[in-house]
């Protein structure tokens, strides 16, 4: 009995809030290249009065901005062709990231490239990764082994630089030894970008939730 009363009370209070809120979606228009589908607007908290006094009432504009990201990477695969053993590193793959909030980048599944078919005297090629702009800085800088890379989480805090585009270059180093038989060696890892400040009214794919009006509040 008590539980039923409690549920009824909660439902009633929510209904009351919705009514009080009075949120109604209104059309959105856009200037220039702006896409009106990227914004939705609601009006709420209507008020009224009827008598001969002087009236004053608050008026609020609230914009809830979702986190967006724009990124590009000039390649997601390095293909090396090696004629003879040696330690080599290569010019970079460029990565550019724009966002308006914290971004975390995780690395997973990176390993030494391994013999793609059959067996080899040494089926692995040692590989490392580095971040940087110039070869002279990178050559003797910090190189991450695949396992070290997997342990890395790069956090990019919200900053002006991030809003206007932060870029780096990825470098690849391999050490081919005499025990590596002639063949193809390959490894594929995963890089995950996570938007850390995403709004709760977007789903995981960046689409509006159906009940967007529930995120219209009475806060001034």
């Amino acid at each position: 009995m008590k539980r039923s009363l409690l549920i009824i009370a909660i439902v009633f209070s929510m209904f009351s809030l919705a009514i009080a809120n009075g949120a109604a979606e209104v059309p959105v228009y856009a200037y220039g290249d702006s896409d009106p589908n990227n914004a939705r607007a609601f009006v709420s908290m209507p008020t009224s009065g009827s008598c001969n006094k002087n009236w004053e009432f608050e008026f609020t504009v609230e914009a809830q901005i979702a986190q967006w990201v724009k990124w590009n990477i000039s390649g997601t695969k390095w293909t090396w062709f090696v004629r003879k053993p040696g330690t080599y590193f290569t010019d970079c793959i460029g990565f550019t990231l724009y966002s308006n909030g914290d971004i975390a980048i995780d690395f997973d599944g990176f390993a030494s490239p391994s013999y793609a078919t059959g067996t080899s005297v040494n089926p692995y090629i040692d590989a490392w990764y580095a971040f940087g702009d110039k070869s002279e800085d990178v050559a003797f800088g910090t190189w991450y082994s695949p396992s070290e890379l997997n342990d890395q989480t790069a956090l990019f805090p919200d900053s002006e630089e991030l809003h206007y585009g932060w870029g780096t270059k990825l470098w690849s180093k391999i050490k081919v030894v005499e025990c590596n038989s002639a063949s193809t060696y390959r490894d594929t890892g995963k890089i995950t970008l996570t938007l850390k400040n995403q709004k709760p009214w977007l789903d995981d794919n960046g689409y509006y939730l159906n009940n967007l009006e529930q995120f219209v509040t009475d806060e001034r």
Binding site: W68, S74, W78, T79, K84, D91, P113, I174, A182
Partner: protein
């Protein structure tokens, strides 16, 4: 319906945000054994690298995952040496003689086929001669102790012709050494003169990559061998 399918596929690609992009040739540096860094020339260097399969995304999706691949295609290399390619005998009287070995070393990172052709008994170099041939034998061994071979191990010159494959192994990567012995049987019927035979040994790298010009080991058109395999 077909149009709908095409739109659906394009939309899926758009949502994923992945684009194949072009294949770009990259600069490559080598860190030498002495620790110095040398930028490699595209034609003379021993490594080339390409970047491909670019990707991009732009929307509010919370988590983005992209695959990232490093692929190394290693060509077959061979490093070999032979301490001599000619035996010259000086024989004063008939007899059955054999000589200390010629040393042959081979390193490689794949199967190597060794073929011999044109080996025969030594033949009188000019016209004439009562017996124009000198029986010739060879013996190939990995025994480096320089122990004189027994009489049963020798292979007649004509039977040397053929091929054998030295299979990829740790020993081959580190370098194998063989010793080749030579035996001649000079008989009384062999007239005084010069007898000679020249054979050909051919080394074939059996696991060579298709982007190597097999004639001279120079670079082929590597960019054609950049694939989309992950």
């Amino acid at each position: 319906m077909n149009r709908f399918l095409v739109i659906l596929v394009l939309a899926a690609i758009g949502v994923l945000g992945f684009a194949q992009g072009t294949v770009r040739s990259l600069d490559v540096w080598e860190i030498t054994e002495s620790g110095s860094v040398v930028q490699l020339d595209e034609n003379t260097g021993n490594a080339r690298a390409y970047a491909s399969m670019s990707a991009e995304g732009s929307c509010n999706k919370k988590v983005w995952t992209l695959q990232f691949t490093t692929e190394v295609q290693v060509a077959q290399w061979a490093e070999w040496s032979i301490s001599a390619t000619k035996w010259t005998w000086f024989v004063r009287k008939p007899g059955d003689y054999y000589a200390d070995a010629i040393q042959f070393s081979l390193k490689s990172n794949g199967d190597v086929q060794l073929s011999a052709s044109g080996f025969n008994d030594l033949e009188y170099a000019t016209s004439g001669g009562v017996n124009r041939y000198i029986e010739t034998y060879y013996y190939l061994t990995t025994d480096a102790s320089n122990t004189p071979p027994s009489t049963s191990v020798w292979v007649r010159a004509s039977e040397v012709n053929g091929s054998l494959v030295v299979e990829d192994s740790a020993a081959l990567h580190e370098g194998m050494t063989a010793h080749l012995w030579n035996r001649i049987h000079v008989v009384e019927c062999n007239s005084a003169s010069t007898y000679r035979d020249t054979g050909i040994i051919t080394l074939t790298l059996m696991n060579q990559k298709p982007w190597i010009n097999t004639d001279d080991g120079s670079w082929g058109n590597t960019i054609d061998y950049v694939t989309q395999e992950r």
